[in-house]
Symmetry: C3
């Protein structure tokens, strides 16, 4: 039996009629605003080359760890959905079989954000009008293939149809940004900007750190044989990134520990690292030190600085060894922002030139730590409800836990943090709907007036990211 | 003035009319499904002997630490409600007086799950139609005594009326399971199965550990004078438990720390313990090691493994010394599941033969840790909202915090964890109502369709426990 | 464009019509009950001298760190809103300019409790009927000045109009309580009582500890040159405070660590402190010891004891150095109540003469730790949703997270903890509305009956603080 796939126009709004009416009105104010995507992982080649998307499996399944981790958790081997093995070992290569496996397990996504996004993508982008099941999987496969082949569904056409004003990618400091250059020089007017993420050279334990340092030397033309050269090379690359349109840096750290080291200490640790003798303790201190350095540079060059912390990466070594990074086994841990960020905030948090956006997946720190910190330090802002929290419930809890202490004006709007290009409108739409729902509640309960809510929803959807990411 | 005791048919559903209608329809689908009680503490003698329940005080008050701890917190001495003292000292022995004391303090339970369960028991099982007060306490006492004397309220009759399909008890490895055998051989078709809980021999600091080891030797017929013998004895008892219908093991630990020890180390620690020389540090390591061993055995024999962690037992030594274990002074603490479970999950979490059910009372870990872990590892499932959380608000928060990341299919349904036989239907009914309420919200907000919700409510109430506990 | 400033009669109630009707009925039962303010920081001189309030800036802005921290977080220098500098450096002295700055940034408070309180004060106390904006700031300024000049708005007149039954201040042990005496002897019947807060002499690292000890000696007439004298001086001052109407003590500590020291150890540490040689470790141990001593004294003299913990004070040293204490940079941290309070609860938690009220800003401990502890120990009660949590969402979460485990009868009602006299009715009104809303939900969902809710709302608003603070 087949079921219609419907995207209800009131979805995710509270079912109380009074609230729903208000939410609908607020949502209407922002649903057609351009999308700002200030923090994501879309491959810029997609838009540089503008070739048609491949089949449903390679488009929607293989690159999406949100999706295949759920199948894995229910006993479906990653090989069976075509996730490539590091050793080149055999995995399913028939996209139809992969799609069939996903369809057979589609009930697993009931009530999850992945389910909501996929429904949106299938319906609004790919024109599917039946709920995906094991039975209709092949028919829907054929339909998607047909749709993807149409010229109006080429990446750049979709970029425009999605009404994306700015799309930011995430790039290592040694990146040539060749694809960004190609896009800029192509005459196409889509704005795709890089952001500067130096984890691969600031974390001494990063895989291939030595090679990354060499690449940094090469890219910058500054020898990184000394700590001084290394710092200069980073400054040099920031200049280059800014010249290519970057407005922000991004720092993914396990712990948000920050603390400056004396120059000679930093030099010593850096030297040890060059000789391959750095310890984990060295790396932890050096990362904390480099966050201080990055804040200093941001005060100087004005780039917005993002720190996200609190994920234990590759919790499952078997999967990591077989399939590599980002395979759905990154698990949140509790973090202490208050003591860890203190040195950085004390030194740079009062600086008028710094915008520091902090986020994490430990949502207990939203109300306890992030809101009070952002509600005091002029430089600090609270990043979005991140990762496992960028969901219907997660985003609503985020608003409830941050607004009262920090207001909405110490937050920076939504970011999609996604590799999945097709999911961008779905994710922003969900975020806008949850904000509309949250504000509708405030209006219905007479906390704010409707005109205030109207300004706030536009601020959340557009002006706050625009200002804080300097677009 | 007396008030009618009413169980409203829409209780615990959201008051929004749209949601309530849906919740009612969903609840109707499961309210008559059989009860699976996969984790509890009912004394099997009750069903082996099938003799009438005693008076209200001995039935509802003295064995229920949920109830008497609340009275104690408001200054009522435990002696006054008949809780037996270890030293045999005097406590109230008149059940009427005890019942009167409870009735005089019944307002304390307003808004609490204990209040909700008691109302259900009084109304549905015992036929009471007036709200319990100090004034009507004796009349209600008489009524309950009369009701308990009727043949249709004998334990087995109630088991059938409650529509219990399986009731699992919790048993030490040296337990003879004599009562289970009696029930099985009695011809009565009620299914009462043991579960294997070896805490008394895996925790070297467990009261009477030495005696417990002797009992294990005796029960298994395998000498536990060596570590090797001890392991073999445990394996032997697992075989016996399985032969008696057990499908699961259960492990209550303070910390969820897991880590295998080298064989010779484990032997050394075990020897020290036999000589009465084990330290707390030894015990902590050994417990973590034995969880690894238990996971290994579960991979081999297929028994579902439950770990619950994070309770500081006997916080109040005065009460512990006077009245013993389980007297309402067990207090939750924050736990770290991510790092502590890593060794076990790394070694066994990808194993197709393991079902590992984890729960705790620190609800901050539901969203942050348990849902991401269960949403990745095939072996791991999230246990229910436990203990202080198996309540109207607690279970709703649990669904909100786990579903989006793990889906409902990485959870295992409700367990009542109760000593109070009469409260079993009340607890399952509350759980089913909260699940109906949660799913009704998803339907009303157009997250899922009604047919999906219909499948999900049945999965939550019946199929998930059935499958995960292998009933 | 100007907008009416309206306080909707149904504000903060759930928008579901069924719930709203019930909430309205419940709120009506308590809205006119007298205010008990058992924990606050209003300067008693205000009521001793009874002179008119100054201008809007000095009344509403300069003393309110809730307000100016939010402006600071958005880049407004504290100097610009007139916060006095420690070094006497220049700050804005024109109250009109300060008021204009606040009005220009008033949108920052949308959805925050500060916004809700200010709206209430402006509307109900100061008669403002237009929403404050940059445009109407001066007109509203003039209006407020005019209103404050009227005799019916003198402090004592407002105290009566606010229907305050008891107002408790917070006072150091060496305080002369001269203002309290003046009030008592003035013939005015307003009840303003001190509470005993000895942090300045129990925390060895408190600024000016040596001088504070001298002041304690002088005030008590007992030499504090020995530890024994120090203890006796404190006991002496408690007698004095009680003679002046005090019924409670208050203890603000970073960590809720408690642990008694041996007498000779305490003496040694105290001597070191007198010689200016105490370490931070000494101070931590001594604070934990003095909490034990304070509990002992409370068992003896019957004073209610309050402990609030978990705030890292003066997180921003730049602001602290320039402007001093309480400038909006006190940030919550995670706390462990279970292990830290164990020694105190074990020794005194079963004592019939102790009422120990515990609170914190780490709301994760409400459900996990405070509710189970208060739901067991007869002496312990849960304090209110404190500070960043005494808000619409915060107080609702507090009820949801404490009631099911501890019931409402192990909580003690609301406290406003405020320096801002004019905000007292606003804060109590918000608290009563949230309680009405919470109970209305329980009634609408058939958890409790209406008559029970009616008793509960009166208990929360009046009887629980009355009894627990012994007013």
């Amino acid at each position: 039996m087949s079921h219609a796939l419907v995207l209800h126009e009131d979805r995710y709004f509270d079912s109380d009629p009074a609230q729903r009416r208000i939410a609908r009105d607020l949502y209407a104010l922002v649903k057609d605003l351009p999308i700002l995507s200030p923090h994501g992982h879309v491959d810029p080649r997609l838009l540089a080359e503008n070739i048609p998307f491949p089949d449903p499996a390679r488009l929607l399944v293989i690159p999406d760890h949100y999706l295949f981790r759920m199948l894995y958790s229910q006993g479906v081997p990653l090989e069976k959905v075509g996730v490539p093995r590091i050793d080149g070992g055999e995995t399913e290569s028939d996209p139809r079989k992969i799609w069939q496996t996903v369809a057979d397990h589609f009930h697993l996504f009931r009530g999850t954000p992945t389910g909501m996004w996929l429904k949106h993508e299938l319906h609004d982008v790919l024109g599917v009008r039946e709920r995906l099941t094991g039975e209709n999987a092949m028919a829907i496969y054929d339909q998607i293939v047909e749709v993807l082949g149409r010229p109006e569904n080429l990446p750049r056409a979709l970029f425009e149809r999605f009404n994306i004003e700015v799309l930011s990618t995430t790039d290592f400091p040694s990146a040539s940004l060749e694809e960004h250059r190609k896009i800029a020089e192509s005459g196409w007017k889509g704005r795709v900007v890089p952001s500067f993420r130096p984890d691969d050279v600031t974390d001494l334990m990063y895989p291939g750190w030595g090679r990354n340092i060499e690449a940094l030397s090469e890219a910058s033309g500054v020898s990184c044989e000394t700590y001084g050269g290394y710092i200069q090379a980073l400054e040099n690359r920031r200049v280059f990134f800014r010249s290519m349109g970057a407005t922000a840096t991004d720092h993914g750290v396990f712990s948000p520990h920050t603390a400056g080291m004396e120059r000679h200490e930093a030099e010593k640790v850096y030297s040890r690292a060059l000789m391959g003798q750095a310890t984990q303790a060295d790396a932890d201190r050096f990362t904390g030190h480099m966050l201080m350095e990055m804040a200093r540079m941001s005060c100087e060059d004005g780039m917005t600085m993002q720190i996200h912390a609190g994920v234990l990466r590759n919790h499952n070594p078997e999967i990591h060894a077989k399939f590599g990074l980002d395979k759905g086994c990154d698990i949140p841990v509790a973090v202490d922002m208050v003591r860890n960020l203190k040195p950085l905030l004390n030194q740079y948090g009062n600086h008028p030139n710094l915008t520091l956006i902090v986020f994490t997946i430990d949502e207990t720190v939203f109300a306890r730590e992030l809101a009070p910190l952002a509600g005091h330090y002029p430089a600090m802002k609270i990043g979005p409800a991140w990762w496992f929290n960028d969901s219907r419930e997660g985003m609503l809890r985020y608003r409830r836990m941050t607004t009262e202490t920090a207001g909405i004006y110490n937050t920076v709007g939504f970011n999609d943090d996604t590799r999945a290009f097709l999911s961008i409108p779905a994710r922003h739409d969900l975020a806008r709907r949850i904000d509309a729902r949250y504000l509708a509640e405030l209006v219905a309960e007479h906390v704010i007036d409707m005109d205030e809510a109207g300004e706030m929803i536009a601020d959340l959807a557009y002006h706050l990211p625009k200002n804080n990411y300097q677009f």
